[in-house]
Subunit: 446 residues, 2 copies
C-alpha cells in the first residue's frame, strides 16, 4: 500500500459542517464504511460515515468513474463483502473520488451528494459485513502475562509465546453489531473445591475484552502462505471488537482444546470499518514499544516494513451501570491502551494464519486479542483489572465491580492521532449486558 496521499491532508475540510469539528470521529480524512437499513423492512445496503451524517453511497454510484465505480456499485449489496474483495487499487480510487465529492470546494455535484445524506443518529446500523471466519489472536504480551500470572505466578508467559502468534478459531455466527444487548449465558460452573461437581447456571464471572478487529478484504488462495510484507494488501480495515467472555465457563471447559462456550455466545463489533487507507498516517514502528526477542522465525520477519509494522490505535473501555444511568452519571473509563503495544503485528498475525496453507476469505474477522499495555491504566479486561476477581474496582456513585453485573453497559471507543495529521475515530462499540433468560430445557424438561 502506498504512502499517505492528498485524502489524508489535515487541511481538508468538508461541506458537511459537523465533519470539521476538531474532535469528531468521522472527518473527511476518515470515511469509514458500514451498512444500514433505510426502513425496518428494507434490505440493508452499505454506507459511508461523514461527520454526523450517513452517506447512502450506492444512490450516487453514477458519480464515480473507472475503478471507483466498481466499488460504488458493490456498495448496493447488503454488506461490504463484495466491495471489500476488490482490493486496494479500487479502494484508493474510490476514496480519492469520494473525498473530492465531500470537500468544501465541491459545487456542481454537492446537491446530488447532499440528497443521499441522512442523520447518523436516526440510522439503523447493521452488521457491516458477512463474517466468514472469526479468528482471535492473543497478541498483547501484557495481556498474556497478566492472564498467565493468575494461573502460573512463576511462569506467566508460556514458552511458545515469543515464537508463535497464538490464536484460536472463534464462532463467526456469534458476531453482532454494537448496540445489540448481550444476554448473560448459562454454562457449567465448577466450584473451586477439588472434586466438587459443576452446576449449570448463569455465568457469575462475565467479562469484556478490548480488541482491535482486522477485516480481511482481498482473499488468499489455499496453499499460498502470505509474506508479512504482502499481508496488508489483504486488510480492508479495522473495527473495535469486544470479545465477551464468561470466565467461569471458560475456566472449566478449556482443557485441552481451548475456549468454546465461554466465548461463543457473543462478540460485538463497531458498526464502522475504518479502512487500512485511512490508517496509513498512523502506521508506526512495530518494535517501538514491544521489541521482539528472540527475532521471529524467517517466515514472520518483515524487514521492509519494520518502520510501519504497527498501527497506533488508542483504545478505551468504559462502563456505565444501570445505577449510573439512573443517576445521570457519565460512563467511567476503565482502561486506555494502544494497539501499537501488541507484541505481534497485523502482518505477522496474517502471515502466521496462512503459514500452514490456510486461506483467508473476504469477510474474515481477525481479533487482536485483548489489547493491554504496561501499567494499571492499560488493562483491557476485568480479569486483569480485578486480578481474577480478587480486587474490587470502585465506580462513581459508590458501586464496585469484580465482574459485570446485569444492566452494565460496556463501551469501547478508539481513535488515532499523530502530529501533522487529523485525528480520526472509530465511533463506538457498546452493548448492555442483559440478564440471563430462563433456561428453556430446564424449564420444560423432566
Amino acid at each position: 500500500m502506498s504512502a499517505p496521499d492528498r485524502t489524508h491532508d489535515p487541511a481538508l475540510r468538508s461541506w458537511v459542517a459537523s465533519a470539521n469539528r476538531p474532535d469528531h470521529d468521522f472527518p473527511i480524512q476518515n470515511l469509514p464504511f458500514g451498512a444500514f437499513r433505510a426502513a425496518s423492512d428494507a434490505a440493508p445496503r452499505c454506507a459511508v460515515a461523514i461527520g454526523d451524517q450517513l452517506l447512502d453511497v450506492s444512490r450516487i454510484a453514477d458519480l464515480f468513474t473507472a475503478e471507483a465505480s466498481a466499488v460504488a456499485a458493490a456498495l448496493a449489496a447488503p454488506g461490504l463483502n463484495r466491495a471489500m474483495a476488490l482490493g486496494h487499487g479500487a479502494h484508493a480510487a474510490f476514496r480519492a473520488q469520494l473525498s473530492a465529492l465531500l470537500q468544501e470546494d465541491e459545487r456542481a455535484r454537492r446537491p446530488a451528494v447532499e440528497a443521499a445524506l441522512r442523520p447518523l443518529q436516526s440510522a439503523q446500523l447493521v452488521l457491516p459485513f458477512e463474517v466468514r471466519g472469526y479468528t482471535d489472536f492473543f497478541a498483547s504480551i501484557h495481556h498474556a502475562s497478566n492472564a498467565g500470572r493468575l494461573f502460573r505466578p512463576d511462569q506467566p508467559l508460556l514458552p511458545n509465546y515469543r515464537y508463535v502468534p497464538v490464536a484460536y478459531n472463534g464462532r463467526a455466527n456469534s458476531v453482532r453489531t454494537s448496540g445489540e444487548p448481550v444476554v448473560r449465558p448459562h454454562g457449567q460452573l465448577k466450584p473451586a473445591e477439588a472434586g466438587a461437581a459443576p452446576r449449570f447456571a448463569p455465568s457469575q464471572r462475565m467479562d469484556y475484552e478490548v480488541e482491535l478487529g482486522i477485516v480481511v478484504g482481498r482473499p488468499t488462495a489455499a496453499g499460498e502462505p502470505l509474506r508479512p510484507g504482502d499481508a496488508w494488501d489483504h486488510v480492508f480495515g479495522f473495527c473495535l471488537l469486544n470479545d465477551w467472555s464468561a470466565r467461569d465457563i471458560q475456566a472449566w471447559e478449556y482443557q485441552p482444546l481451548g475456549p468454546f462456550l465461554g466465548k461463543s455466545f457473543a462478540t460485538s463489533i463497531s458498526p464502522w470499518i475504518v479502512t487500512a487507507q485511512a490508517l496509513l498516517p498512523f502506521r508506526t514502528a512495530a518494535a517501538a514499544r514491544a521489541p521482539q526477542d528472540p527475532e521471529p522465525l524467517p517466515h514472520l520477519r518483515d524487514p521492509r516494513d519494520h518502520a510501519r509494522g504497527a498501527v497506533a490505535v488508542q483504545l478505551e473501555a468504559a462502563i456505565r451501570t444501570a445505577h449510573m444511568r439512573q443517576r445521570g452519571l457519565p460512563a467511567h473509563r476503565l482502561s486506555r491502551s494502544n494497539a501499537a503495544d501488541l507484541y505481534w503485528t497485523v502482518a505477522q498475525m496474517l502471515a502466521h494464519h496462512t503459514s500452514n496453507g490456510c486461506a483467508l476469505d473476504t469477510g474474515d474477522l481477525v481479533g487482536s486479542g485483548t489489547v493491554s499495555g504496561a501499567g494499571d491504566g492499560a488493562l483491557g479486561s476485568l480479569l486483569e483489572l480485578s486480578r481474577g476477581g480478587a480486587a474490587a474496582i470502585d465506580l462513581p456513585g459508590g458501586e464496585q465491580r469484580r465482574f459485570l453485573e446485569d444492566g452494565d453497559e460496556v463501551r469501547l471507543t478508539g481513535f488515532c492521532e499523530a502530529p501533522g495529521h487529523r485525528r480520526i475515530g472509530f465511533g463506538e462499540c457498546a452493548a448492555v449486558l442483559a440478564p440471563a433468560r430462563p433456561y428453556g430445557p430446564a424449564d420444560s424438561g423432566e
Copy 2:
C-alpha cells in the same frame, strides 16, 4: 423424527440394478445427497446417489408434489444448504416420493428418471454444502483417554471430561471433499529438549483422525438452547470426516488456546451426506456400550430418547502407500470403530453447543472427534496406534509407519447394519498426502 417407515423396508428393490447388490453402499434404502458438476465449467448442482448411479435430481423436479417439490426445487442450487434448511417434514416427503420413483415396480415415470441418471464413476463430485461453521468435538472417551495417556500417564482423562462435551471451533474454509489431495503443511516444530528454539519446516508428524460429521439442517435461533430431545430435528445427515492433524505443530501451539494451525490446513469429508432419515433403523441405546457416569447435568439429559440416542455407524480407516499402489497391494485396514461407542451422543453435543445461546446455522459441520473404541483394533488415529510415535505399525509390503509419509492415501469408509435391515454405506472419504510445497515466503524473502 418418526420411526422407520416403508422407505426402510429391506425387501425394497430398485430398477437401478446395481443398487440391489447386497454389499452396495447406496441401495434404495439409503438415498444420500451430494453435489456435482455436469461439466468442468458448469455450476454445481445437487444429486442423489443410487447404486452406481448419480441422479441429477433437479432435472426431474416436476415429478415431485406438495412439500417434496420444495426440496426438489432447492436441489438445483450449487449446494445442499437450501434443501437442508427445509426440515424433516419436507425431507421425509421427498424421500418417500423419491423411493417410489426408484422402486422396481415403477413404470410410468421410470423413463424420465432414467434420463436423469449418470454413472457415479465419471461424475465430478464437489463439496456437498457450503460449510458455515465447523465445530469439532472430543466425544470418544477412548480417544480422549488414549491421547491423554501420552501426556499424563497418571491422569489420562481430565476432570471435566465426564461433565463437558468438550469441543473447539475449527476452520470452516479448510473443509474439502474426498479426493482432493492434502498438502503437508509447514509449521513451527519444537525439538524435545527444553529451551531449544523451534524451527519452521514441513510437519514431521502427520496424522489422520477418523470422525463422524454431523450436518446441521434446520437452524436454531440465537439465545434459544436446544433440548437434547429436540436436537435431532436439526440434523440433516452425516458424513465421514478426516480431521487431518499435524501433531508436532499442534503440540507446540496449543497452549493455552487450543488447536489452530495443526488442524486448519485441511479437513476432508465424504461427498455423500447420509440423511438422518436413512439412519433411523440404526439408532441404538446411548448407554449400551459407554455408560455415562456421573449422570449428565439436567440440560444434557434426554430420558425420552434414551433407547435411541446413539447412531451405530461402523467406521474404518485404511492406508495405501505409494509403494503399495505400485505393487498393486490393496489398502490395509488400520482400525474399525463404531460411533455408538462415543461417550457423548449427537443430541448432547448439539444441546451443549447451543446451551450458552449460540445459534446453529444450516450448513454447520459438527465433527464427533476421533472415534476410537476399546482395544487395539479400534484406534482412530496414528497418534494412538503408534503410541505417540513410539511404536511402528507394520504394513503389507514391508513398510512401517509411525506417522504419514508423502504419497500415503488415507481412506475412511463407513456403514450401518442391523438385523432386519438393509445395510447402508457412506461411500468413502479418501485423500493422498502430497509433499510440502516450497515455502513461498522463505524462497522469495530476504
